[in-house]
Amino acid sequence: MVINVKNLVKRYGDLIALDHFNLEVQEGEILGLLGPNGSGKTTAINCILSLLKYDKGTIEIYDQPMSPDAYDIKRNIGVVMQNVAVFNELTVYENIDYFCGLYVSDKQTRKKLVAEAIDFVGLNDFKKFYPKKLSGGLLRRLNIACGIAHRPKLIILDEPTVAVDPQSRNNILEGILELNRQGATIIYTSHYMEEVEQICSRIAIMDKGKIIAMGTNEDLKKMIKSGEHISLELLNPENLDLTEIQALSHIISAELTDHQLVVKSSRGKNNLIAILDHLKDQNIAIGKIYSEPPTLNDVFLEITGKELRD
């Protein structure tokens, strides 16, 4: 096991940031820590990295207790912080070389690793640029390169795509998948459910310092009643009797706004066909139809009663 966290408790005065937090990370997986802002993701990561003292619990990494002096463990960890942590006074190359040099002392090996990291994040054309000259996306890439240049076995990425444009975000996510393919175990924290769904092999949903649900994307969605979201554009909605739609089997809720009918159904076959048949019987013409599977937001909503992005 790569990481084993048991009963972790972290308090800030009366506020409990981590409430008996448990986490197991297996070798080779990408574990997503998903939760709204303030749910305890970064606190958990900081405790795991021994950047924060905690009140109770144990943390083991590669079966060794983690502590500020556990230098042999730290050697195998790559960290990409939520805030970009680079030297504004050093160029892109010098920054990556600096952070790589904290782990790798041999100059020749380091030169090779730095070149690979620059290539990996696609900063070849910006090697001599100072961070202040880089765009937000490029800066995030530099931040990642600084964290992974020494080829760590475990990479912890804390919201690495905050304030990044969609194109750069996709590049970053592709890069993370590539690192995983190369053998790295990854912990990825985010409050963007789409990202977590896209890259994580296992997802832990956090709220109020606890993991409230954990499993694969599919496992999590199976935990809830919601099956799909069906949206229909009605051309003559005045003929619609909403109670009849709500009375159909597997229908959880139905709402009509202007010409838009939104129906939430539970897991079941032919939900859409049943609705369409009913509308046809009522002589209601249909414009457009959309059907979406449940999202992690639905999972979060159903478990906690609030939106993931509250």
């Binding site: 021994s50 500020p68 970009v84 942590a85 680079v86 030297f87 010098e94 952070f99 904290l102 600084c146």
Partner: protein, 388 residues
Amino acid sequence: MQVYKAFFKVIQKNRGQILIYLVVFMVLALLLSSTYNPPQDTDFTKVKVNIAFINNDGDSQLVDGLKIYLGENANLVDVPDDTQKLQDALFFRQVEYILRVPAGFTEAMLSGQDVQLEKTTVPDSTSNIYMDLLINKYLNTVKTYTTYLPGLNQTDLNQYLKTDLAKQSEVTMISNGTHSAYAEKSGYYFNFLSYSTFAILILGVCSVMLVFNDTDLKRRNLCSPIRSTNMNFQMILGNVSFAVLTWLVLISASFVMYGSFMFTATGLLLLLNSFVFTLAALSISYLIGNLVKSRGAMSAVANVFALGTSFISGVFVPQALLGANVLTIASFTPTYWYVKANNEITAAVNFNADNLQSIFTSMILVLAFGVAVLGVTLVLIKQRRVEA
């Protein structure tokens, strides 16, 4: 040595501001040192004061004797005995001193009574003190003779006075060594060096500490396998290297200007004193670097601290001209003791146990400042680590 290398890269990136102080120092030090002329006490020439002598006592040998005696040491200017004209003469500086001999002066003096001469002088004139001394000397000599030789006639008295007052003492200057012309100039240069040393070290050290104390970078460094002792060692090595480099650059001009003088005892003591001061300044800069939170504050502190301590400690204005209260406050800064040691080094024509003890006491005090401030800084750093 990643941290050590990064230290100098940060310094290099901030070199613009540091170079400004360096260039300004070099230019000012060169200009001031080359134009500074220390006072030459060997070039004294006697200057005679213009005085007016008004006699209301009538002719007497005693008054004539006084007039002749004063005439030998001052220029007697004829001014009519008219109040308006006498006032004008003083106002237009025709005379600086008006002496009026009152009626009955001779008789009173010969009978041993106390007599007062009337004087009118230009306000705040230093020459009137000199005239007072001459007149007192004459009157006291007369009094001595009239007291111990009562009944002495005026002719004999005048003769005795003439002989006595003509006597002069010969003064021979005895020196144990020669005082180099470079001594005072170099003292001025080294005093001024303290200002630049402080400003450059505060700017350099603070700019690095601001970067390394940035919360995100600090946390990122803490995630790495580099030991905190190793990290601190590299930081201290970087700071000391920077300070020594700054010192070497700042003293280099002294070798250009004063050449072989810098290898004399005076020159070497000045160098040693400046090195000790550099270490203390580094220690204070390190404390400031751990306290300031922004670049704006850094520049402000560098200016205020370097200029402030320099002003009150006698870098720009000699300590002898500063008030006692100012010097008392200044004595709580290392700059004061550094300047004091510099002044003592350059004033000494030779070195003996007495003046060396005073010089080294000042140096030890400067070093003590450095050690004390370093101690406070280390406690502060440890305290912050515990709080984190």
